[in-house]
């Protein structure tokens, strides 16, 4: 699908690295179809909680997404599977003084209900939420009680671990809704990149549908996928973190997504390309963690919309965690610079992408890149850019004004078998 003419000029200037990085992000996020499935799931849960006879009947005041799902930055949790975390908030009409265990247990009972009901075998109790397991995604439902006289939707959340009585129960102030709104305000998409990413996401969805021979229509537009470069950079950082910790640090706690999102939002969209945005964001993280390391302290960050909502309450926890992440960020930054400036061959580029973001999405993005070039070649639409001697990164979909059509030609050469060479 081609791009609209006002955006075309900017999109046509994207480098092959920008395209490959965007396509990796397309392949590690929720597809538009999965996104719609997630929305359907959480709406179904919302209705289920309010069903007749439920312990929460008539008490669910609001039900809304939070976390990565609310800011469009959901990525697959593990390197080898498509397993997404969808976080939702259930605002319940309780007293703020409710016992944390009672709050969490009541929510769990309302979802799981009794044996034989739809969520009974799918629901797990966690320390701050209940998780409903679906194929390829988890829905984490967190109960909250709204406070008043604070920023919109500032709420109490609850912490209780019945399997470990030594762990104290807590009632904490948080505002995930306010954070999501603040994040979106700080990371507005520019029109061209937003359109580009939306198209790539929908086109990929169509490819998946074709591969599965499914017939459900993919919409022509899906505004949730008009994302900024900063959001895509965040998704790629989260994906890199997931792959890295899966591979090397399975016993360490992951640097939390909300902390990464916080820093990305504070420094968003200060560059002109996706590759530059990603490198800039990684450099900012290195600078913040490096500064803390230099001062022999741990990083500290809080929700801009709720001072009591501390993002660093559970991570890094100790200097080892912080130092480990900083060391890995240094390597990540070096790899990104190698991809942007190192003049790598496609084979080398593919290896770096696989190492950073996982084999499947990297190879799939690579194949998408080649597929476009190949379709252009065999349709007689391939182009080149004379001054630099380059191909157009998006081929005929968005060729720069300087591009020229490449005349028809067929590569030839010596037979593959021949006399022994001297």
């Amino acid at each position: 699908m081609n791009y609209s003419s006002p955006s075309l000029r900017q999109i046509s200037a994207y480098s092959p690295l920008d395209v490959l990085l965007a396509d990796v992000a397309v392949r590690v996020q929720l597809t538009p179809t999965d996104y719609q499935a997630a929305v359907d799931h959480y709406q179904a849960i919302s209705e289920w909680l309010d069903r007749s006879g439920s312990p929460l009947e008539g008490k669910v005041l609001e039900f809304y997404p939070q976390g990565g799902f609310s800011i469009g930055a959901t990525v697959a949790r593990h390197s080898t599977t498509s397993d997404f975390d969808i976080d939702v908030i259930a605002q319940i009409d309780w007293s703020p003084n409710i016992d944390p265990e009672e709050a969490l247990a009541t929510l769990h009972e309302a979802i799981a209900s009794v044996k034989g009901t739809r969520y009974y075998d799918k629901t797990e109790r966690k320390t701050r939420c209940s998780t409903v397991n679906y194929k390829d995604m988890h829905l984490d439902v967190t109960p909250v009680v709204r406070t008043w006289g604070r920023n919109e939707k500032t709420s109490y959340i609850f912490h209780s671990k019945p399997s470990d009585p030594s762990e104290p129960k807590k009632t904490l102030l948080a505002n995930p809704f306010g954070f999501a709104e603040w994040f979106k305000m700080m990371t507005p998409p520019d029109t061209a990149f937003g359109e580009f990413f939306e198209r790539r996401s929908l086109d990929y969805n169509r490819v998946l549908f074709d591969a599965k021979a499914e017939t459900a229509p993919v919409p022509d537009q899906m505004p949730a996928y008009r994302k900024s470069r900063a959001v895509i950079a965040l998704q790629l950082i989260k994906r890199w973190r997931n792959v890295l910790y899966d591979r090397l640090y399975q016993n360490l706690r992951l640097p939390p997504s909300v902390l990464l999102a916080h820093y990305v939002a504070l420094n968003a969209n200060r560059t002109n390309t996706l590759a530059d945005e990603l490198i800039n964001q990684v450099d900012v993280l290195r600078s913040i963690l490096g500064g803390a390391e230099a001062e022999n302290r741990l990083v500290h960050a809080r929700n801009e919309m709720c001072r009591e909502d501390i993002f660093t309450d559970r991570w890094p926890g100790d200097r080892l965690n912080q130092h480990t992440f900083l060391k890995e960020l240094d390597g990540f930054a070096a790899d990104l610079r190698l991809m942007r400036d190192g003049g790598l061959s496609l084979a080398e580029m593919l290896k770096v992408l696989e190492r950073l973001f996982g084999e499947r999405p990297a190879r799939d993005a690579y194949e998408g890149f080649i597929r476009q070039q190949r379709e252009d070649l065999f349709a007689g639409k391939n182009v080149h850019i004379p001054k630099v001697g380059a191909i157009a990164a998006l081929g005929s979909l968005a060729a720069p004004a300087s591009a020229r059509a490449t005349p028809y030609h067929t590569d030839f050469g010596d037979p593959e078998t021949g006399p022994v060479r001297r």
Binding site: G343, P407, H409, D411, D414
Partner: protein, 223 residues
């Protein structure tokens, strides 16, 4: 342009098809015909100077795809970016409009081939050895119409110094292949390489060795 001899020119420049930058040399012979001889080189020759394509780009023992690699410096095969049978390119077409974009394409598909082992650009390889007509697509034949031994054909090329330009080789040896010289009287297929060379030398050759790159064929009568 790094060399201009009037009848031929050599250009060197850089191309960056995707990420990697290549230094390319294109040699073009505008006029191969002289009073009493003809240059045996191909009219155009494209090689990658830096980084070299290499003899075994994938580390699997396969030479680079779609190159003229027989009897060339293994690191610098000549890129074959157009089909000599088709009219993709001829000396009437501007190099900048044809050979340069062809080379950009070739480098893209070469890089993809190195990464995946698949040549996914457009291309075809000849099924047999170089040909009597010099276009690299047919089969060399003796004057009696019998198929010519590939080994003999190649050794003639080596001795004449035109193996780098085998499309010209057929022309150079056209008399031998077609009419003027008698065909080999015996089956040569069982001969060892040195015996074969000796046999060919006895027939018609000065035994001139081939150059490794950019070889110039021995003087030829103008057809």
């Amino acid at each position: 342009m790094v060399c201009d001899l009037g009848f031929m020119g050599v250009w060197e420049g850089h191309l960056t098809p995707i990420f990697q930058k290549y230094k390319i040399r294109i040699t073009y012979i505008a006029n191969p015909y002289f009073d009493a001889f003809r240059l045996g080189n191909p009219r155009e020759c494209i090689i990658v100077l830096d980084p070299p394509i290499g003899a075994d780009p994938r580390g699997t023992g396969e030479p680079a795809q779609h190159t003229y690699w027989w009897d060339r410096d293994p690191d610098f095969p000549r890129l074959c970016v157009h089909d000599p049978v088709a009219d993709d390119w001829n000396p009437d077409k501007y190099i900048a409009d044809t050979l340069i974009p062809f080379t950009i394409d070739w480098l893209l598909w070469h890089e993809d081939w190195v990464a995946t082992g698949l040549w996914r650009g457009r291309g075809r390889h000849p099924r047999a050895a170089p040909t009597d007509s010099g276009d690299g697509t047919g089969v060399a034949r003796q004057s009696n119409g019998q198929l010519f031994s590939t080994a003999v054909f190649m050794n003639l090329g080596l001795l004449s110094g035109t193996c780098c330009a085998y499309r010209s080789m057929g022309s150079q040896w056209s008399a031998y292949f077609q009419a003027a010289l008698p065909p080999p009287s015996e089956d040569l297929s069982g001969l060892a390489s040195n015996e074969l060379i000796s046999h060919v030398q006895d027939l018609d050759t000065d035994g001139r060795p081939a150059c490794s790159m950019g070889a110039v064929g021995r003087p030829l009568p103008v057809p």
